[in-house]
Assembly symmetry: D2
Homo-oligomer: 342 residues x 4
């Protein structure tokens, strides 16, 4: 940390700050500048609490952290990119795994048909919500365990890996019985008991970024899972909330290369939630592949206009097949592969 003092502090005051720094187990270097004096606090210090305690001193103007607050997720800890694989679904290592399916599991017919259609187009993962977090208590909340069983049935028929959301710690065991990948939704990115609960399993976790989470907060949420011993974490950028209201969220694709410089975890893009508008999904899928993502998560429904939830952002199986085709071509010229690529 760099502790910046207010201007005009006396030698004694500077020493008081230096002592406080050393009381935290850090080494203090005082640098007297032309206008400001700073105290560099040296050590393996990542605690926000210590930063704030120093910030609170009367002599101190601000404290600038130097080290990233996360550790296990960092490329400094593990330089080579991680690959997360379950069944035929692979995220990372130059391959883009594709997970497609409806927002909500609605019926056996709907999920089985969707599974066959997305598999035919190349997907290796099937998404579908059984427990649904809904903004309104009056909206459809999912088929719950019945939905999980239908997902498992679809997997039995197609071999697709099932990705589905778990909303609360007490459901982790139940959802884990049916799911190949446990999804943590954006609203729950900082639900720490839930993160710890999925961290205690051996099931891969797909962690969605909260709509106003910073990169540090996102990686620290992953760190909660990793810290419990579960190393199979996939990050998912699904858009952030900004002043832009013409799209449902603002989807910042620069997240992919930015995170790849800092973490070894694979990064998936969700253009369905990221835009909220079906007509924008194909071009944003192409862009996501071109930017270098490790996976795609997409809402596909046999009849989008009849989808019970997220209809506005859901694409048809035909559109999905076209997207897969274009994405494979782009990946091809960049030396990467997408599901279904020969």
């Amino acid at each position: 940390m760099i502790v910046v003092l207010h201007p005009g502090r006396s030698e004694e005051e500077i020493q008081r700050v230096a002592s406080r720094v050393e009381s935290l187990g850090l080494k203090a270097h005082v640098i007297v500048g032309t206008e400001r004096t700073v105290v560099a606090a040296v050590g393996s210090q990542r605690r926000d609490d210590d930063r704030e305690a120093l910030e609170r001193l009367d002599e101190v103007d601000k404290v600038v952290p130097i080290l990233a607050p996360y550790k296990v997720a960092s490329r400094e800890t593990k330089p080579e990119p991680s690959v997360v694989q379950v069944r035929d679904l692979v995220f990372g290592g130059g391959h883009i795994g594709v997970v497609a399916g409806p927002c909500s599991v609605e019926s056996e017919e709907q999920i089985i048909e969707t599974a066959h259609r997305v598999k035919a187009a190349g997907a290796t993962g099937l998404r579908g919500g059984a427990f649904k977090p809904r903004t309104s208590p009056y909206a459809f909340q999912g088929l719950k365990e019945e939905g999980l069983k239908l997902l498992a049935a679809a997997r039995d028929e197609t071999g697709l890996a099932v990705v589905t959301e778990v909303m609360t710690p007490e459901h982790v065991e139940l959802v884990g019985k049916y799911a190949d990948v446990l999804q943590i939704g954006a609203r729950n990115m900082q639900n720490y008991h839930l993160l710890q609960a999925v961290g205690e399993t051996k099931t891969p976790v797909l962690l969605k970024r909260g709509p106003s989470a910073t990169m540090d907060e996102f990686l620290l949420a992953a760190e909660y899972v990793l810290d419990q011993g579960n190393q199979q974490v996939v990050l998912c950028e699904r858009g952030v909330r900004t002043f832009e209201s013409h799209t449902r969220f603002t989807l910042p694709l620069a997240t992919v290369p930015y995170l790849q410089e800092r973490t070894h975890l694979p990064i998936v893009i969700d253009p369905s939630h990221g835009t909220g508008i079906a007509s924008l999904v194909p071009s944003m899928c192409r862009a996501a592949v071109a930017v270098g993502c490790d996976g795609l998560l997409l809402e596909v429904h046999p009849n989008p206009a009849e989808a019970v939830s997220d209809a506005a952002q859901t694409i048809s199986p035909d559109t999905f097949a076209t997207i897969m085709d274009e994405c494979r071509k782009i990946a091809g010229v960049l030396g990467r592969t997408v599901d279904g690529q020969a």
Copy 2:
């Protein structure tokens, strides 16, 4: 809802949209404009799902909802403002209840001393975290049940109502044994299982706004609690995340009068989290009282620089007493009262 069609749609296409509207149990009025045709969908319709299904039709450009999506929280349902009271702590009805205390309960001495000091300055509520949601898994996570017991001890000594956070459904019973008010933190505003769990109790709930929640989302989160039968909900504005990084969050005080026009629930302001900077807290408390809030939530510690968490935004008991004094004067000239007012 108002369904806006793309330009140049045929009579037949317009009818297709009207039929779809009626298939949702709504009455369709077609209005042919000079440039656009719109279909007004009349009925008590609040479901996002239906809106999105219409939006997905090829003929449709966009759908504009007319009714607010929340109902029980609305002043249309209950025009007179609600008052929430527990022990001597009162939110609403022209009175501003004040809840003060440390970010985290750290020790018996710390919480008892704080309780005496804030009570002496007039507060009727004591805050303090026993279960702490922390951005980093490496930060202090609270004293847990031991912390709850210390809060209860402080209440026994002072009579202050205890406000403390519950983070996960399985802790609701435990925290409820000690707390007078169950706080739902900003990170959990859309943790629906938790909202339902506290909605099933008879304990008042203080619901903090998520840092990127819209007003509708905030009131729908309250609706989750109300819908379970618990009518004692207090809303808390604690700042939103914006491009401004000089303060920890951006605290929009206009939330207070805006919400008061729409909901009967009391509204509390948290200037500690709303600014993140102790030196800004006194002036923002004055402003919150002047704007017409129903309560204040403040971080106070006997020795702020030694606080184990949130030190940067924590004020001393002396500063707190000065704030209370100024707030009482402002409330006085506006015909309202603050805790401790004669």
Copy 3:
């Protein structure tokens, strides 16, 4: 417009609103809903002023506009996409024009070398700031007319079209003497006198989106130029300001397909300002081409670390050549072309 009334309004009050609507030259349709009454105001009405006047009536809760506020920029006015061309630089019609060069023109040697290098890699446009808008009055403000002359010299040597910024109406004539395309910077997107001044010329205009401009505001800024008779307007997305501070701005590529549905004007992406970090530029260029943009604007300097401005986001000529290569491959598989493509 749809005028939504407060609940419980009398027949007389409804009529008062309808009369006010008709006083604005619009036809009023009253629709009595189960909970709310709305008045549909029919006519070619785009004026915010009228919307606000209705919103101000006591009976009115809110007013929802139906028509887009822009007209000439709209695809409803001109369905086929526009192509803007000057010298060999072409934006649109399936072709991606590339403009590259330094943030600031620094010296003859620098700009001539850059021009040769970017031309060799395929670019048809040369960017370079002569009049520089700088956040600080103490930063380098550009070589001014001397810089314009150097740009013209570089054009004479290479044939590249010169794109350079004009900051104030009184410079339009001067800059126009040297520039092939007049750039309006993000800070000046709503400098209406400047927009009108460039609208009065016959020189193509590259209009950058302001960092907090909505899509409607962006297209209305273009409308200011179009309205003066200059139809050669190119839009440039260069990132918006959000809570994300790890990148300089947040670059929302969904702007491209979103705008393409609404306007016929070509859309260029600026990944240099959009990210602010040189290492993120190559992947975001690939993504911009994949998403379907009509052009790229890039900061390139023979020795980025020595650039007098924007060093952190500037790439080298070698990196630029690699980017061009990758972009051509991606465009190729999508049936589009990038500068330098056979």
Copy 4:
């Protein structure tokens, strides 16, 4: 500046960075940490350009500035708060100057009546737009010089100081003939030619914050004016653009105490633009006074619903009088004064 190196850099690489720092005229202190090495660059360095040049070095991870980028506006340069006065209008020194009037000057009758009404309620300043920056080219653009003459006539009748906007450098002389205070609108906060032009006059300047300007950018814009020799600058917070769309902008009152710690310039609040909703204006005025602002800027019209622009956020003279009354009471108990206070 603190230059943070990537991990694992060799002694030679560290020296290369230190040399580059010294080549900028700064003194380099190398601090070898447990995980990272940092180079502290000591000197009176405020240039972004230098920071970016260092950031661009391969060895460097990031550069953290220590000194604020502005100087003349800073309290370090001038510790005592500045007071700006013209006629009876005073901003600062414990007094809150109030400027009220219509969005646009519409007619002699309208502006004269408004002037008398706001003066009667205590205001000492009259606002009114003659040159109007409008988002749409089709909206009313103001009465131009005729409007200025009407403002001057209103001043002659009432003695109120006239505050009106100047939009472009070539109008500075013209507007300066009639105005007592030159207003720079939010859209023009970074129109540097305009800032320099008003900086060359002796007329006080009211500088509005851009809707996505950071505090540093805001103060640097002021610095452009101050740097030209005009020391009479008043800052105006009028709301920022965030994801919140229920109000027109988000009005962060914490700007006032935050800026007061850093600058000596007076700070005015504009609750009309800051909320965009007339019913929220009174409570936000009270809050602005309670938070400690040095002035208020308000849109008042004899008949708000008939205002040709900004009707939705404009209040009546009666509401204005009530606001003034409440504000005087609040200022009174805080030992401050508002216009009209005995």
